[in-house]
């Protein structure tokens, strides 16, 4: 695709105009009184919610679409962009915090400097790498990029990320040893179930059950009359006990929690949609 300059210039003009409009609007918005601000925010929230609610509730034609299905398809790109900008907010907050620490020489500011340097270097190579991967603006994958990105990504970021997560194994081990003392009925039920599941779901559970001599296979005959000794012994195998705990005892507990969380989430969605939630805005 040739570098079509006229289309590029027009595009840049449009974008500059959009930025100018957005910036010009700010002082205008600034004149809004607090009540007006709350009204504007609640209105925008309501309209955004109404669009998606209507797309779900409106009846659909034979092609399984209603009048809002196609507009939603077109809007997707902008929604992905806004989500990316909102995720970038976290990065912006982090860099801003540590930049202030470094500039104002707050305690431990040296570490903030380390963070900022790592951020800038990695951002540079990550952007370069993604551009080279897509061959944008004729950017190639040079040897420098390959070595630097492999070192920073594969042999530093990946290693630190994996190690940080593995720390928790040590904490779980010491916490389980120290905290799991039979203090109450509840803690005992929880602990006993946890141990049964831990030993039942690993192959060792099968090995122990076999070595005790519990029947390994459930024949059709055992299924039809469950009170046969064979069947009872079969169900005493550790893998069977752990499976039964997870599929018959644990599943209804999770479903009850799901119903509680689900109804709570729907109630909160309605409160947020109608801007009833006092603590937030």
């Amino acid at each position: 695709m040739l570098f079509d300059t006229t289309q590029l210039v027009v595009a840049l003009l449009w974008i500059a105009g959009a930025f100018a409009l957005a910036i010009a609007l700010i002082p205008l918005l600034g004149t809004l009184p607090p009540r007006g601000r709350f009204a504007l925010i609640s209105f925008v929230t309501f309209i955004a919610g109404l669009f998606f609610a209507a797309e779900f509730f409106l009846p659909v034609g034979e092609d399984n679409k209603n009048i809002l299905t196609d507009p939603f398809q077109k809007m997707q790109g902008s929604l992905q962009v806004i989500t990316a900008l909102s995720l970038g907010l976290g990065t912006y907050g982090l860099v801003r915090l540590h930049l202030r620490n470094a500039v104002q020489r707050r305690p431990q500011w040296g570490y903030s400097l380390v963070l900022l340097i790592a951020f800038v270097v990695m951002a540079f190579f990550s952007i370069w790498n993604t551009m080279a991967e897509k061959g944008l603006f004729g950017i190639e994958r040079t040897q420098l990029l390959e070595n630097a990105f492999t070192l920073l990504f594969d042999y530093t970021l990946i290693q630190l990320d994996a190690t940080m997560f593995s720390l928790i194994a040590f904490y779980i081990f010491s916490a389980a040893y120290r905290a799991f003392r039979i203090r109450s009925i509840e803690a005992s039920i929880l602990m006993f179930t946890a141990m049964l599941v831990m030993i039942g779901i690993v192959p060792l559970g099968k090995l122990i059950s076999d070595s005790i001599g519990l029947p390994a296979v459930q024949t059709a005959e055992m299924r039809t009359n469950p009170f046969m000794l064979e069947n009872i012994l079969y169900n005493l195998r550790l893998p069977q006990i752990a499976g039964w705990i997870q599929e018959t005892l644990n599943a209804p507990v999770q479903r009850a929690i799901e119903f509680g969380v689900g109804i709570g989430a729907l109630a909160m969605a309605i409160r947020l949609w109608l801007s009833l939630e006092r603590g937030i805005n």
């Binding site: 695709m1 289309q7 595009a11 449009w14 959009a18 930025f19 957005a22 925010i41 609640s42 925008v44 309501f46 955004a48 669009f51 998606f52 609610a53 790109g77 806004i82 900008l85 909102s86 995720l87 907050g93 982090l94 570490y111 951020f119 990695m122 990550s126 993604t130 530093t156 970021l157 990946i158 290693q159 940080m164 593995s166 928790i168 040590f170 509840e186 039920i189 929880l190 602990m191 179930t193 946890a194 049964l196 599941v197 831990m198 779901i201 039809t224 997870q246 005892l249 644990n250 209804p252 507990v253 479903r255 009850a256 929690i257 799901e258 119903f259 509680g260 729907l266 969605a269 949609w273």
Partner: protein
């Protein structure tokens, strides 16, 4: 002897592995106690992670969903998305902080509107699954139904109802309801026990993955396993 010079950081490949190992031991040093070595690598980690994300955010997303549609397909309507989306970054300013709430409000509103489809698709099939468990041999038994299925259906229903009773708050729990709620909390403990058993397995696996890396890639000891 050849193991040694293959082990030492002579080639760039080996140097990289050694750097990865230094990072690993720096993080593990916190197990002994908090120290500057750990804190240096922790802050480097957070900086690297934040810096890395910019590639996918800026290039992969903004290019694909914003710049290219405008530049090539001339979708002029899209130009306003980034400028007005940038209002989000006023969140820290004193005077215009509230402007960021307009965009945050739009996001909150969008997710509230999407909650209705989620509620229908995630929770109603679970409701249906809970009420199609026959408590005795149904008249037109389609598939093979065994006594063990009926027994398990009873347990499923009793646990489900008692845990739901536990999570009710708008009436006093007295008598039978109180006993059901207590029973519900004990069944809750069984569910939590199952969660804890699996959580232990998850965390152990992550540590095992690191030890495996150290043995296999660093010390070049071929590890067996099952």
């Amino acid at each position: 002897m050849d193991w040694l010079n293959e082990f030492l950081p002579t080639s760039t490949e080996r140097l990289n592995v050694w750097i990865g190992v230094i990072c690993t031991f720096a993080i593990y040093s916190i197990l002994y106690r908090e120290n500057p070595f750990y804190r240096f690598f922790e802050h480097m980690y957070i900086g690297l992670a934040a810096g890395y994300a910019l590639g996918p955010y800026l290039v992969d997303v903004l290019y694909r969903y914003w710049w290219e549609p405008i530049r090539i397909e001339g979708a002029w309507g899209l130009v306003f998305v980034v400028p007005f989306g940038m209002y989000l970054y006023f969140i820290y300013s004193e005077r215009y902080g509230w402007i960021s709430r307009i965009v945050i409000g739009a996001l909150i509103g969008a997710y509230s509107g999407l909650a209705f489809q989620m509620f229908s698709s995630r929770y109603l099939p679970q409701l249906h699954g809970a009420l199609t468990k026959p408590l005795w041999f149904p008249p037109n038994a389609t598939g093979e139904i065994f006594l063990s299925n009926i027994f398990n259906n009873w347990i499923f229903l009793i646990i489900l109802i008692s845990v739901m009773v536990y999570f009710t708050f708008s009436f006093e729990h007295r008598g039978a309801v109180k006993r059901t709620a207590i029973l519900g909390r004990w069944f809750l403990m069984i569910g939590l026990g199952a969660m804890f058993g699996n959580t232990v397995m998850a965390r152990m696996a992550l540590l095992i993955g690191r030890v495996y890396y150290l043995l296999d890639s660093w010390l070049m000891i071929r590890v067996g396993g099952g």
